[in-house]
Amino acid sequence: MINAISYLLSATLRMGTPIAFTALGGMTSERSGVNNIGLEGIMTASAFGAAVGSYLFQNAWMGILFAIIIGIAISAIHSLVCITWGGTQAVSSMALVLLSTGISGVGLKALFNQQGNSPQVPYLPTTTPLENIPVIGPFLAQQSPFVYILFIMLFVVWYLFKHTRLGLRIMTVGENPKAAETAGLSVHRIRYFSVIFSGVMGGLGGAMLSIGGMNMFQEDMVAGRGYLALGAVTMGRWNTWGVFGSAMFFGFFSALQLYLQTIPNNPVPAEFIQMIPYVATVIVLALSASKENVGIASGGQPYTKFVQQR
C-alpha cells in the first residue's frame, strides 16, 4: 500500500511536470489576452530540439537550452501572426501544430536519418545524490532535476503576477488593452513578452519529455499533453496554484494508468484512464463556462492600436 502511494506520488510528479511547465506558460500568455491552443506544437518541436541539442553537445543541459530556443522560435511565429498581423489565434495555433510535427519529422530524417524516433541521447539523470537525506531522501532521489526547475518556475510565475510591475501590466493588457494603451503601455510589446514566455515554458515541458523522462525523442511522445496543459489553464482559473494543481491532477491520471498496467488483472482498460483528463476538462468547462466573469476579458481578441483603428 505504502509502495503504491509512493509510486503514484512520484509518478504523478513525473507525469504532471511537463504539463505544468507548459500550462504555466500558457496561463501567462492567456492572461495577456493571447490564447495559444498550439502548445502541443511547441512541446513537440522543443522535445525534438532537446534531443538534438543533447546529441550535438553530448550534454543534456545544452538540450534544455536548445529546447528553450525552439520554444521561443515557435511562439515568436504565433506572436507575429496573432499580435502583429491580427490573425485568428485558434487558426494560427493549428499552424503551429502542423509546423512543429512537420519540422520534427523532417529533422529526424535529415539529422539522424531515422523515422519515428531519435537515437539515444544524454539525458538529465534523477537526483540520486539526494538519497542520503533522511526520510524523504529516497523519494527525492527518484525525481528528475526538471521537477526542481518546475518548482523554481512555479515560484517565478507566482511572484511575477503577485508582486512585479510586469505582472500587473500583463493583467491590465489582458483585461482591457485599450485601458493599458491609454495608460501609456505598449499592448503589443507586453503580449509579445507573454507569448514568448509561454514558448520558454513549453520548451521546458517538451525537454522534460525527451531528455527528462526518456533518453530520446519519439514522434508521438507529446500525445496531447499540450492540449491537457490548455485544459489545466482553464480548469485552474488562470490562477498560478490552480493551474499547477490541475496539471498535477492530470498527471495523477497518467500515473494511475501506469500503475494499473503494473498490477495483474487490471480491472479498467488503460484507454479509459487515459481519457479521464480530457473528459474532466470538458466537464469542468461545462460546469463553469456559462458563469460570467470567467476567463480573461480580452482573451482571443487581436488588438489594433488606437492609431491604426479606423
Binding site: I37, I77, V81, C82, W85, G86, G87, T88, A90, V91, S92, M94, A95, L96, V97, L98, L99, S100, T101, G102, I103, S104, G105, V106, G107, L108, K109, A110, L111, Q115, G224, Y227, L230, G231, T234, P269, E271, F272, Q274, M275, Y278, V279, T281, V282, L285, A286, L287, A289, S290
Partner: protein, 361 residues
C-alpha cells in the same frame, strides 16, 4: 415605362468578381510564400528544394496513375475541409473533425462488418452510419455550446483524444477482428465502395460522393434559409439575434452538419480503401481540413481545388522522400506555413489595396 429585366439566377457582379479574384490572389500569395519559406527549410536541412518540389510534383501528377491517386487522396480532405468550412461560415471553429472522422469510420466499420444485407441496402446504410457517427460525436460539444456556452475549440480538441482512446480500446477489445494486429474485422464486400476505374487506377465512388457533398454544402449555404441564417450568424451574431434568428440553434446545426461531413470522410476511407480500422489510420485528415477550408476562404467549390492541392502533397510526399531525401513530413511544414501566411490576409489585403490605389492615382 418599366423595363422588365430578367434576372438570371447566377448574377455576375463586377464587385463580387473583384472580391473573388482578390481572395484567389491572397491564397496564391500565401501558397507561394509558403513554398518559398519551405524551400529555405528544405535547403537548411541539407536537401535541394528544386529537386524536392520536382519530386513532389512528379509524385502527385507525374503519371496518370499518380494523378488518380492524388484525386483519391483529395477525397477525405475535401470532406473534412467542407466540414471545417461550413462550421466556420457560422463562426464555429470545429477542430474536432479528426475525432468525428474516427468515430464515423468506426461506425462504418461496425455496420460494414456486423450487418449483412444486399449491397443496395448495405452500402448506403454503412455510409449513413458514418455520417450519423460523426454527427453524434459533434453532438456533445454542440449541445454544450448551446446550453452551457462551452468553447467549441477546446471541447472538440478534447473529444479528438477521447475518440482516439475509445477507438483504440474498441479495436483492441470488443471489436478486435481475427489476426494478430489490432484491427476490426474486414467489412463485407456488400459494404465496399465500387471502383470507378479499372486497375491499375485506384479511384472509388467516394470521389463522386465528395463532389456531391460539395454541391450539397453549396446549396445549403447559398440556396436555403438555413444557410442564409448560418452565414448571417457568422458575419454578425448580434444583428442576427435582434432580427429573430436563433444564433445558438444555427451554431448547433452547423456543428452537427460539420460532424456528419467529417464522419462521411471516415466512412469513405473505410468503405473505399481500408476495409477495416487499424490503429492511427486517419493520419491527420481531420486537421488537414483546416488548411483546405482556409485556402478556399470557406467557399465549397474552391474547396475542390484546395483539397486537390493538399491531396497532391499527401500523394507526392513519398516520392519526395525517396528521391530528394527530405522527410515526407515536409508537407506538414508547408501546410503549416500556408496557414501562417493566410493569417496575414489583412496585411496582404492592405498592401494590395495600396498598390492598386497608387495605380489609380
Amino acid at each position: 415605362m418599366e423595363t422588365k429585366t430578367k434576372k438570371p439566377l447566377f448574377t455576375v457582379d463586377k464587385k463580387k468578381l473583384q472580391e473573388t479574384g482578390l481572395s484567389l490572389l491572397i491564397t496564391l500569395i500565401a501558397l507561394v510564400m509558403a513554398l518559398l519559406v519551405g524551400a529555405v527549410v528544405i535547403w537548411a536541412f541539407g536537401s535541394n528544394p528544386i529537386e524536392a518540389y520536382g519530386a513532389l510534383w512528379r509524385g502527385a501528377f507525374g503519371t496518370g496513375i499518380a494523378f488518380i491517386v492524388t484525386l483519391g487522396k483529395a477525397v477525405p480532405v475535401m470532406l473534412t475541409g467542407l466540414a471545417v468550412a461550413i462550421a466556420f461560415r457560422c463562426s464555429v471553429f470545429n477542430i474536432g473533425a479528426e475525432g468525428q472522422l474516427l468515430i464515423g469510420a468506426m461506425c462504418a466499420a461496425l455496420v460494414g462488418a456486423y450487418v449483412h444485407l444486399p449491397m443496395a441496402l448495405h452500402l448506403p446504410l454503412t455510409i449513413l452510419a458514418s455520417m450519423v457517427g460523426g454527427m453524434l460525436w459533434a453532438l456533445v460539444p454542440a449541445a454544450l455550446k448551446m446550453k452551457r456556452n462551452v468553447n467549441v475549440v477546446i471541447s472538440t480538441i478534447m473529444f479528438n483524444y477521447i475518440a482516439q482512446y475509445l477507438v483504440s480500446y474498441l479495436i483492441l477489445g470488443p471489436f478486435k477482428g481475427p489476426g494478430e494486429s489490432p484491427a476490426t474485422p474486414t467489412i463485407d464486400t456488400t459494404a465496399q465502395l465500387p471502383d470507378l476505374l479499372p486497375k491499375p487506377y485506384v479511384l472509388n465512388l467516394g470521389f463522386v460522393l465528395a463532389l456531391v457533398a460539395v454541391v450539397v454544402v453549396y446549396i445549403i449555404l447559398n440556396r436555403t434559409s438555413m444557410g442564409y441564417e448560418m452565414r448571417a450568424v457568422g458575419f454578425n451574431p448580434n444583428a442576427s439575434r435582434v432580427n429573430g434568428i436563433n444564433v445558438k440553434k444555427n451554431m448547433f446545426l452547423a456543428l452537427l452538419i460539420s460532424g456528419a461531413l467529417a464522419g462521411l470522410a471516415g466512412g469513405i476511407e473505410v468503405t473505399g480503401s481500408l476495409d477495416k480500422i487499424v490503429n492511427n489510420f486517419s493520419a491527420n485528415y481531420g486537421f488537414n481540413g483546416i488548411p483546405v477550408a482556409l485556402m478556399a476562404h470557406n467557399n465549397p467549390f474552391a474547396i475542390i481545388f484546395s483539397a486537390l492541392l493538399i491531396g497532391a502533397m499527401r500523394s507526392g510526399s513519398a516520392m519526395m522522400q525517396s528521391s530528394a531525401g527530405i522527410s515526407k513530413n515536409m508537407v506538414d511544414v508547408i501546410q503549416g506555413l500556408i496557414i501562417v501566411f493566410l493569417c496575414a490576409e489583412h496585411v496582404i489585403r492592405y498592401y494590395i489595396k495600396r498598390m492598386g490605389g497608387k495605380k489609380n492615382d
